[in-house]
Subunit: 466 residues, 2 copies
């Protein structure tokens, strides 16, 4: 056991940080060995030395049968804490074949938003069975009606509510009775007699106030909230904008129905950023060590669409085949035209898509942005155009070749700015996610227009090129 | 005034959300008009109707002189709340020319981490003057020694410490005296007689415990912490991993020196994701409506490097100019070869760079990843290779052209997988930021190898192509 102790000391005392991937794999191997030797007790003892976040990472490394064995052997509360750190779809995979009564005991101990996430991923029938045996079913069922990516899907129900017409002494008494239900309270929400959200009150302030003070006199009534339908990205934006550590969620009558915590929204922000990045690169939903078949399903559509569009570019070139036959050197410069247009378009596109996601571009700002990017394209096009013209002239000794290439570069970079900004703006108006569809349209436009300009000009001026 | 009232009602009551860009611009215009009519009082009253987060957005839309006028006219506490929502470099710009005594009054009211951020951006001399006049200088000076992107630079000093050997009653008494200093307490940290961090205790638990209980008996002693040198990305990762709402920061002797809150780390995560995305696209540090000259400085280096690499690709083609002269159709398929390789490389590269940033790839995982991506490249290459071979055969009626194109595609996609995963892994070992430098190397490799394979094979088999 000395070695394991060692690993834990290093990670939790020396730097207070998470286990790294290697330590995680080592511990998973040791646990797997113990389980194979039928020494479940020692396996669980070893696992228990770590924190739930790390336990989750270790569990993920184990074969599914071992995962099931461990999670069902652990006390439900500990199992729940581990589940909270796994991806809901992974939990659903482990849960298949686990007895409903065991699973319901575990989920009763988990945060309500996570329980709802997991139930959404389970097969319909199993979810019904589990819900039927859960003590907290009444709390979780309302959450299941909200989409996963809405405020309703992200909120938790573990919060405390007090009345605005109560005294602080009575309120503290009430809270003392409720306390075991709620871990880690920071502040409580205040509602009026009709259950409408009217304010917020920090427990510290409550604890330190005079006993006879009315809640409504010390509460903070300038409260920011969202409705249960609000998209999770919007919630993240609001919490970031106002620097909130919790965000109350209300129904359409402004009655409090849940709360989103800032530590939970961190996942949302990280996931949304990753999602946008992956969509732009044509790998939506990809995971780095997922099964190959899923990676193929994620990437092939994009590769195939791109293949069709490169044939469009090929078609443009084939129109000018006779010109190329007369001036073969033109073929040499095709990647220069395509490459620069592609890079310029990607630069603008990435900036615009990310800024839109961050809420930095208003409806009115779109035209300003378009003008700005076209201007930049023109400036860059002229600078790069002169550069390529000079290089092409020096290399091939034909000034007209340089001029044609330079002019194509100017046109190409303008198109890059126009489409790089215009396509995502247009797609957003059409309510299509700009991250998914923009890149392929932009590169196709720059390729097709670039080749057309370059080879078209060359055809018109072919007598100067020979 | 009716219209302004209307705007506020809509935003704060109807949906509880932030002002959108258009509303922000409207309000900024109204404020500018009022200031120009020398009606500062009305301008400030109008601004005061909104929340600090929104006030910050409005202020950003105003000319710098108006910003100065408003911030110096507001009560220091309100000005400080607005500053907390602006970018530190913007604050520094506004602060130039503002009297040191006014600025020090405002900064005395701001969170210590933000004060430090702002002071770092000010000219040396002005920063010294302001610090000299600040009441809280002693608190802020230690923060200035830490880099902006370390735990030390992100932490705040507004937290409460209690002794592990005190009773809960005494502790509450002590806290009652300190209360006005700290807004929004959630939990307090527990230190031993030597000031070492030994635990954490929620105020709720403290308030609800029996008076004679010792703090050490109810505190949570399994506490996760970082040191002041820890990088902010690492802090964000730890907070996300363990789902923390605050993260204590200690010095090398485990003495508590500050705390990072989850609402502050949200900015870090959003910024880091944006930064990685922009670096990959070759627009590091770009801002969507910044000055054109800065955009050019951000984008031109990347465009220029890319230009050089496309000429490398052009050089490869020029080696085979005589083959193209004999089989002009080869030129038509050049964008197909380059385009597919580029997309495949970008897919792998984006996945790998993002996963590395998220800490999902261990040292040992690198080789597994490399193998995985090469396999995927091979599979995709074969599938796409067959597709292009068939299309090329049908279009141009030459089976060998199809075969050559298909084989080049296989090689190209394997190289895309190899470099897309290998280059960022290699750069990381060399301690070079993979987000900055990878993309250009990967596309150059796929272009050069792709053209070499395609045209090389065509040259070897040229007799079958005519």
């Amino acid at each position: 056991m000395e070695k394991e102790q060692n690993i834990q000391n290093e990670s939790s005392l020396q730097d207070g940080l998470a286990l790294d991937e290697e330590e995680t794999e080592d511990i998973a191997e040791q646990i797997q060995d113990l389980v194979e030797q039928d020494n479940q007790q020692a396996a669980i003892e070893l696992l228990s030395q770590f924190r739930p976040g790390d336990q989750g990472e270790v569990i993920e490394e184990l074969p599914i049968e071992t995962q099931q064995e461990i999670l069902t052997t652990l006390p439900p509360k500990e199992a729940a804490e581990i589940l909270e750190h796994l991806e809901p779809e992974d939990v659903a995979k482990v849960s298949e074949g686990v007895d409903s009564s065991v699973l319901s005991d575990i989920l009763d101990e988990a945060d309500s938003d996570i329980t709802a996430d997991i139930l959404r991923q389970l097969p319909e029938e199993q979810a019904q069975d589990v819900l039927g045996e859960m003590e907290e079913a009444a709390e979780v069922i309302p959450l299941l009606q909200y989409p996963d990516d809405s405020a309703g899907g992200r909120m938790i129900l573990e919060y405390l509510v007090v009345k605005d017409y109560a005294t602080t002494a009575d309120t503290l008494d009430t809270l003392r009775q409720q306390e075991p239900e709620v871990k880690d309270i920071r502040s409580v929400f205040v509602v009026d007699a009709e259950e409408h959200l009217v304010g917020e009150l920090s427990v510290a302030r409550l604890a330190l106030a005079r006993p006879k003070t009315m809640v409504r006199d010390i509460m903070d009534s300038d409260i920011i909230f969202v409705t249960s339908e609000t998209n999770q990205e919007e919630c993240a934006r609001v919490m970031e904008h106002y620097n909130l550590y919790q965000l109350p969620v209300v129904d359409k009558d402004r009655r409090l129905v849940g709360v989103i915590r800032s530590e939970d929204i961190i996942d949302v922000i990280e996931e949304e950023a990753t999602e946008d990045m992956y969509k732009l690169a044509g790998i939506p939903g990809e995971r780095v060590f997922g099964p190959l078949s899923i990676s193929m399903r994620n990437r092939l559509p994009w590769l195939s669409i791109n293949l069709i569009t490169t044939f469009l570019a090929a078609l443009v070139i084939s129109i000018f085949e006779s010109t190329i036959a007369r001036v073969v050197t033109l073929a040499v410069f095709l990647p220069v035209v395509a490459g620069q247009g592609g890079i310029g378009g990607t630069q603008t596109l990435t900036l615009v898509v990310r800024s839109m996601a961050l809420g930095e571009i208003s409806r009115r700002g779109g035209f300003r942005l378009l003008g700005r990017e076209i201007s930049l394209g023109l400036i860059h096009g002229i600078l790069l155009g002169v550069a390529v013209a000079v290089v092409a002239f020096i290399w091939k000794g034909n000034y007209m070749l340089g001029a044609v290439l330079g002019m194509a570069m100017v046109g190409n970079m303008v198109i890059a700015g126009l489409t790089g900004a215009g396509i995502p703006l247009l797609l957003t108006r059409l309510r299509i996610d700009p991250a998914v569809a923009s890149a392929v349209v932009v590169t196709t436009c720059t390729d097709v227009v670039g080749f057309f300009l370059f080879l078209g000009l060359a055809t018109a001026l072919v007598s100067f090129l020979i």
